[in-house]
């Protein structure tokens, strides 16, 4: 430990270690290609089970259906409130749902 004398002595220089931890780099992924137009497309609405999710996604749904003729929506509710869906028992269902939609809106709803 630094002794009191060491700390109080004017002019003492300290060579200090970093407290910031290393982390393994996470493989980076691009985002999914976008449809040029949402008309006639199936748009996924992902709810993370937070209080505002259904309300905000409902508002998104109404706006999208009004603006894009023939567009459809498909809802998905996460298995838990705070775990990435791919790490839950809902993984297979989630992957099938993602494959069935053309675009996704997720409401953080916090």
């Amino acid at each position: 430990m630094n002794t009191s004398a060491e700390i109080n002595q004017r002019g003492t220089e300290y060579e200090v270690l970093s407290p910031w931890a290393e982390a393994d780099p996470v493989p980076l992924r691009g985002i999914a290609p976008r449809p040029a137009d949402l008309a006639g497309k199936t748009i996924g609405l992902f709810s993370n089970r937070k209080r505002a999710a259904v309300l905000t996604l409902g508002a998104v749904e109404r706006e999208l259906l009004e603006k894009f003729p023939g567009a459809r929506t498909s809802w998905y509710e996460s298995t838990t409130v705070n775990t990435p869906e791919m790490l839950t028992e809902g993984k297979a269902k989630f992957e099938a749902w993602v494959a069935s939609v053309d675009a996704v809106v997720l409401s953080v709803a916090d």
């Binding site: 270690l17 407290p19 910031w20 259904v54 905000t56 603006k67």
Partner: protein, 426 residues
């Protein structure tokens, strides 16, 4: 916005398209949600349809170079400001983690400095023994605190503690560290009067170290990843030992499955800690204090704090910890209309509908089960009781980790045993 960007980056998708809207947080008013989404709709549609840039298709990692182990050389005040400006501090002065100071801190463990005790979310930073020691030195901890700190890190890394949620939540949850077993006395963790006040190195520095670890190893920085609305002074330190010597019951770590002669730390995340004047000094008055002061808006892990005197009064009347847990679960109730689960203005979609009685005037239990409750005996003389109320995430538990002591522990304890305040009378 910043927390969303940081969360996406941590998952390897730094360029997820995020649209910020003006809907109030956790909104349950349809008109507000509609207005907020309407004003953001053009940007939402653009995010859904605008062709991807080359970087969005294949994001590139920012090269940061190999991080230096030695990060600064200079005088005390310069060091303090250097760390503060990099966001590595907590606002209070830090002790310089020099090579020699860290080496001495490492006397508190037999583990190798490079040993990874756990990875701490959200950044999944590697909590090596050396990084734990560096942050411990900064916080003013002693080598006798290292075994406790290592167990604390193991608890943080345990998914049942839900650090990923509580450490960054708008709810400003604070880690409450409860120390049990012989290590309390060796490390001088206060279990008596004012245990949760400042003034004891162990209670202050263990919690402070863990706060720095959450930030510097876990990467939960205020208003970037840690989105606590009000914040919480308990994030500086909330550490107490159980007053086992004066308790009539088995200590917490024994309830959690360890042997009495073992040492352990238990973690859970309350976001409040309140003290209530006891209704009476008899068993009925003590229990009434608890059941009538549970806040119905919590419904999660709950720790009942009582003094040795209150515990002895209950024990003399035949109450055990298990009986108290069951009693408080059973009778800590509110009319259903006061319970958040039955609030018809929105409600938590994650809450269990089976807990909502059919009639709003029927009563509903505040805490989901007796297993969500623990009884902790601590503190000094006085007529107050304590309630530390935590969150109710599914699967969340009081997480207990055994503390392993290093070789040469007795000698290490002896080295610091005289480091106690000697208050002069005035």
């Amino acid at each position: 916005m910043t927390d969303g960007r940081s969360a996406a980056s941590n998952k390897g998708m730094p360029l997820v398209r995020i649209v910020q809207e003006t809907v109030p947080c956790e909104c349950n008013v349809k008109e507000d949600a509609d207005a907020g989404i309407r004003s953001a709709m053009a940007r939402i549609i653009e995010a859904l349809t605008k062709p991807l840039s080359a970087e969005e298709q294949a994001p590139k990692r920012k090269e940061r170079g190999t991080p230096s182990r030695i990060v600064f050389k200079g005088q005390l005040e310069e060091f303090d400001r250097f760390f503060y400006k990099r966001g590595w501090g907590d606002g209070l002065p830090l002790r310089p983690p020099t090579e020699s100071a860290v080496r001495e801190m490492l006397a508190g463990t037999d583990l190798e400095p490079a040993h990874v005790v756990g990875k701490i979310v959200p950044r999944n930073g590697k909590a090596t023994v050396e990084k734990i020691a560096v942050n411990a030195v900064m916080a003013g901890a002693l080598p006798t605190h290292m075994p406790i700190l290592i167990a604390c890190v193991e608890a943080l890394a345990d998914p049942r503690a839900h650090l990923g949620a509580y450490g960054t939540s708008t709810g400003s949850w604070m880690p409450f560290w409860i120390v049990n077993g012989p290590v309390r006395n060796d490390a001088r963790v206060n279990c008596g009067s004012g245990a949760m006040s400042p003034g004891d190195i162990a209670n202050a520095a263990i919690g402070r170290t863990m706060g720095l670890i959450v930030k510097n190893i876990g990467g939960a920085r205020k208003a970037i990843e840690d989105m606590g609305v009000y914040g919480n002074p308990g994030k500086y330190s909330c550490v107490a030992g159980e007053n086992e010597e004066m308790s009539p019951w088995e200590p917490l770590h024994v309830e959690q499955g360890l042997a009495r002669d073992e040492s352990a730390v238990t973690l859970f995340f309350p976001n409040c800690y309140s003290q209530i004047w006891q209704y009476g000094s008899d068993d009925k008055g003590i229990l009434a204090t608890l059941i009538y002061n549970l806040p119905p808006g919590r419904s999660g892990l709950t720790c009942l704090l009582m003094t040795p005197t209150q515990a002895k009064t209950l024990a003399q009347k035949g109450w055990t910890k298990a009986m108290i847990r069951k009693y408080v679960y059973e009778y800590g109730r509110v009319p259903a209309y006061r319970h958040p689960s039955s609030y018809d203005g929105g409600g938590w979609t994650g809450r269990n509908p089976e807990t909502v009685p059919p009639n709003a005037m029927d009563s509903a239990a505040i805490v989901p089960s007796p297993d969500h409750i623990r009884v902790l005996v601590l503190g000094g003389p006085g007529a107050f009781m304590g309630l530390a109320c935590g969150g109710g995430l599914p699967g969340g538990q009081f997480v207990t980790k055994k503390i392993s002591l290093p070789s040469g522990w007795t000698k290490l304890v002896a080295k610091y045993k005289t480091l106690v305040p000697a208050y002069e009378r005035y």
